[in-house]
Symmetry: C2
Subunit: 191 residues, 2 copies
DNA sequence: CGCGACGTTGATTTGCCTCAACGATTGTGG
DNA sequence: CCACAATCGTTGAGGCAAATCAACGTCGCG
């Protein structure tokens, strides 16, 4: 929990009351590998801040294939933001990849925080701006890079993550098959 | 300009002073087809709200190919958000596709607005949330849909735009070549 | 041990790219 | 008003990167 408070304090000054409020709407929870934090189809009233471990959000297409939208490691937020911001049922599943500890926020209560403590607005605005930037970069990478190049960018962006998450999840994030990723990695290792 | 003011008023209540401030930092401008609003490499201190017409942002890869990140039509915002939010030189170019009228904002002055008129925060937060949602959807589409399906989603999302923007720009947004799009459209028309 | 999960490799297919040529349309200068 | 070039979309031929289908090796675990 300290992690998050410190991150916020780096960005804005936090009153004691506001800090108390955060503690009142947040709950530290642990999940083990394979557990589902958000299930496709359900109403999304939670968002998670990762203390340690790794999680991912993904959708399942009409052929049953999974496509990873996001990985989350320490200090990242994860949820089904499409569902949460649009107030619609989840189209994504959020799954625990390795044993993890997260801070779970009730989304409704979190939305209240801006009314009670407007000082959070700049913090959230900056978080959203960073999120937009990373999504723009991801789209540009997808448009202009080859599978190998995207893989290289990935392992640079998520160092060490490959040791913890299976390759077929990484493949599904990069938009290729597990087999193609295997070949790409073999090719890369040769050089 | 009225468009934008009304949009804001739909979302938040706007004091007379705040409305005056908006007018003071915004300038309505017209650009003709082909004009460049933001040039790759330059410092980005502008963001645009579209009154009418159409624009796009794109990057140029190492082989000289263009990749369209975003189209903007009436009531949309466009800029190089990567550069603007990260305070770095533009990696994108923003170009006028058809003769257009936009409201140009100075990015620094716009950033000030939140200090002087905190009531703007919720408006901007919602704008950013919608932006994140649309980017998430775009990434999911790119991961799971075929070229034809992506094209269908595109013309649903931007109705009428195909009449105004050349097909090779649409192709570069979808992540395929102009020729492939041509074949996809021929195939679609047959059925 | 035997099973399931995961990664790799091979053979074949396929969707899209590349290169190239060719109409149709539009705009421009003589 | 026409000749011409430029722009844009289409179509064909061939090639390539990645998908698909399938088999197999390895590792960890009940």
């Amino acid at each position: 929990m300290k992690n998050l408070i410190n991150r916020i304090k780096n960005s804005i000054s936090l009153s004691t009351e506001a800090e108390k409020y955060i503690y009142s709407i947040a709950e530290e929870k642990s999940f083990s590998k394979g557990e589902i934090l958000i299930q496709e189809g359900q109403t999304v009233n939670k968002t998670f801040f990762v203390i340690h471990g790794s999680l991912r959000s993904f959708c399942v297409d009409k052929e049953g294939k999974e496509h990873t939208l996001q990985f989350a490691i320490q200090d990242w937020w994860i949820s089904d933001f499409i569902a949460m911001y649009n107030h619609e049922p989840a189209s994504l599943t959020v799954e625990c990849i390795t044993d993890s500890t997260v801070i779970e926020f009730n989304a409704q209560m979190l939305a209240q925080i801006y009314l009670q403590f407007p000082e959070f607005e700049p913090f959230q605005r900056k978080t959203l701006e960073r999120h937009v930037v990373s999504l723009h970069k991801r789209i540009l990478n997808q448009l202009q890079l080859t599978a190998l190049e995207r893989y290289n960018v990935f392992i640079e962006q998520y160092p060490n993550i490959e040791q913890h998450v299976p390759n077929y999840h990484i493949a599904s994030y990069l938009g290729i098959t597990q087999q193609s990723l295997s070949r790409v990695r073999a090719e890369k290792a040769k050089k």
